[in-house]
Symmetry: C2
Subunit: 271 residues, 2 copies
């Protein structure tokens, strides 16, 4: 709620939303937003956890019960075309460096793939303007990520993450200086590094189970990162980054990797 | 001594050498090799430590005394033009992947810079042939490095290192898959990765004292690695890697970095 109010206060387009602290608020939100709309807890939600899509009046009270009657936020459903994220770093002197826009593909509320750079000059400029306003508002130091829905060529701020972000993991191999190094540089008072993409990259999350590494890393330009976690449904266990200046070859490798890991993603971003 | 004997046994060109186990051996070596020649301990020598250049007969016995009368090896002095290193990885199935040749610049016995890739087809082929023979001889699994002097367009094997090597640190940012990852892949029974250089790289060692990081990492495409060691004369405390497809811009950055760290290196490799 605080996040969405901040977007509004700073003139950053976001969804319509209403606070939900009691049953009356919930019915009020449903009348104002129309169905379907989304009910979300205000804290600790991630990867689609802590949110329920509501389609009819009779579901309202049971949905809120499922969220343990926590303070919630009701948001209108946005039928967005795709999602992008903007990652930037700001240092103690107020200098800001911006990574290229990233095109993100989700499935069941979980980030599956990030494609970078997503070159769209108008969206890029808007995303940089918005993240700059946010960073300056908070005198922010370090890496900040803002996720935007894209609809009719416009950005709609969805949420922000005050940290390095899954959609920026490709920067380890695919940008001159990674989001991790720039975060540390910012925090340590060192000069920020070059955020340019050195090539085209696709990051693919490894979710739920560990795939056969042997097959994956046989493919060209594939970098594998495992987080040392035990498998669980929907858990991010690691990620792959494929780097290739040749987009056609890159997408070919991505398709093979999807098959090998059993990815639900079936399409390429059209760029 | 075992290393040099192995080179000879396998038909790999190396220097002339004699074992030194007593004073008589030392005089015999001096008569056979002519001055100047090099007296080296057989174990634990590195960065020019454990070796003495001998120029006259009267120095022989005091030099050996300085080396605590350890078993030594006497080698003829080779007035080489430059040094290259070949790094390769071999897996459990006997597959070998070869990194590009690296052009190395030493000062006072310590590696100062590595420039990669050093593209010389004839030397490359010879280096690959030699390292392959060595790896197969030992049924070697992991990363092996062989250093060669270059003189009159020929390779002369100087020494080998059964491990990842300082002259391969550029592969972290400058090759598709680094020497470290390929070492681990080999040891873990995973398929070896692409050893191609993705651009041009120069690795510069940080020796003796910590430079002002602020100034170094302001320069474009500079990656800094510090090893967390306390400063000491001649100690390798870290390294910088500069990656740039544009060789002229790369060398410009390298020159600035040399000034900033007080490097004794004054020339560019002529390639």
């Amino acid at each position: 709620l605080a996040e969405k109010k901040t977007f509004v206060e700073l003139g950053i387009p976001t969804c319509q939303f209403f606070p939900v602290d009691c049953v009356n608020d919930l019915y009020h939100a449903a009348e104002s937003l129309a169905f379907p709309f989304v009910l979300k807890t205000r804290r600790l939600g991630y990867d689609g956890k802590g949110q329920i899509i509501l389609r009819e009046f009779f579901e309202l009270e049971s949905a809120w019960e499922k969220l343990n009657w926590q303070p919630c936020i009701a948001e209108n459903w946005i039928d967005f075309e795709f999602e992008v994220s903007q990652i930037a770093a700001r240092d103690h002197q107020g200098n800001i460096v911006y990574y290229p826009l990233v095109y993100n593909i989700h499935h069941e509320g979980i980030l599956r793939e990030s494609h970078a750079p997503y070159n769209n000059l108008a969206l890029m400029q808007a995303a940089r303007d918005y993240i700059k306003i946010l960073m300056e508002k908070f005198n922010y130091i370090g890496v900040l990520t803002v996720e935007f829905f894209v609809k009719n060529g416009k950005l709609i701020a969805n949420e922000m993450a005050p940290r390095v972000h899954n959609s920026g993991h490709w920067t380890i191999e695919g940008a001159v200086i990674s989001q991790f190094e720039n975060h540390m540089r910012a925090v340590a008072g060192l000069p920020l590094g070059d955020t340019q993409a050195s090539s085209n990259s696709v990051m693919i999350n490894l979710i739920g189970h560990h795939p056969d590494l042997n097959e994956l890393i046989k493919l060209p330009n594939v970098h594998c990162h495992l987080y040392g976690k035990s498998p669980a449904k929907g858990r991010k266990l690691g990620h792959l980054t494929v780097v290739n200046a040749d987009l056609e070859a890159l997408n070919k490798t991505v398709k093979k990797l999807r098959q090998l890991i059993g990815s639900p993603v079936l399409f390429e971003p059209n760029f």
